[in-house]
């Protein structure tokens, strides 16, 4: 699934020290559940993103274990505290071993 996977992340460019910000993430992925059948009646093998993490300067914000019941093109929205200037790192882990990353810098307002 490595080809055509594209993350899209909304993080404010600036924040006040210690303030809370809302983050939204989307990533293009078919999230094949393993329960669908192809035209010949054979099950299409499961192929999903099974984990999503968000860290800020190496500290965890959220770490989500994902199951096949997560919709195609997974979306997450959550709130993070920004203690200082730095970088958010977003990581999606694919069943096939691929890892997709996005990084967003936040400056102090």
């Amino acid at each position: 699934m490595a080809s055509g996977v594209k993350p899209r992340v909304k993080v404010p460019k600036t924040a006040a020290a210690g303030s809370a910000i809302t983050i939204k993430t989307l990533i293009s992925h078919k999230m094949e559940s393993g329960r669908r059948k192809d035209k010949e009646g054979n099950f299409i093998p499961r192929s999903i993103i099974n984990r999503f993490t968000c860290e800020f300067n190496g500290q965890s914000v959220i770490d989500v274990t994902m199951e096949p019941a997560i919709s195609t093109n997974p979306f997450f929205e959550f709130d993070a505290t920004v203690p200082e200037a730095g970088e958010f790192k977003f990581t999606w882990y694919d069943d096939d071993g691929d890892v997709y990353e996005a990084v967003k810098a936040v400056a102090m307002a």
């Binding site: 860290e55 965890s60 959220i62 989500v64």
Partner: protein, 138 residues
Amino acid sequence: MELTRRNALAIGAGAFAATILPFQAFAAADEAIAAFTGGADVGEGGITLTSPEIAENGNTVPVSVDAPGAVSIILLAAGNPDPAVATANFGALAAKQSVAMRIRLAGSQDIVAVAKMADGSFVKTANAIKVTIGGCGG
């Protein structure tokens, strides 16, 4: 189909399976909750699940769960073939113990959220969601 004794039995068996299936699904959800809590008592209150009363389409249903002070939250769809949906673990920099996502629901059912609080206690809440089948598959 001709209604023979054998066919009648087959229909009966099918109807019976259809009746017990939801209970099996609930059993699977209960097992998943037990695995998450380690069998500990589960209370109520302090956890909010937000979801549509009627989903526009079962393939993409927006839900959010909020449990102030939780370290992790498990979300289950009791009526799905596999009830597990997601487990969110909140880190030190989570400003709220809250997450929104879009999930798949196989049909009308209850979704259940269980939160593990910082003191090791558990709280639970559930919402019913209706999933309609439209007329226009387009």
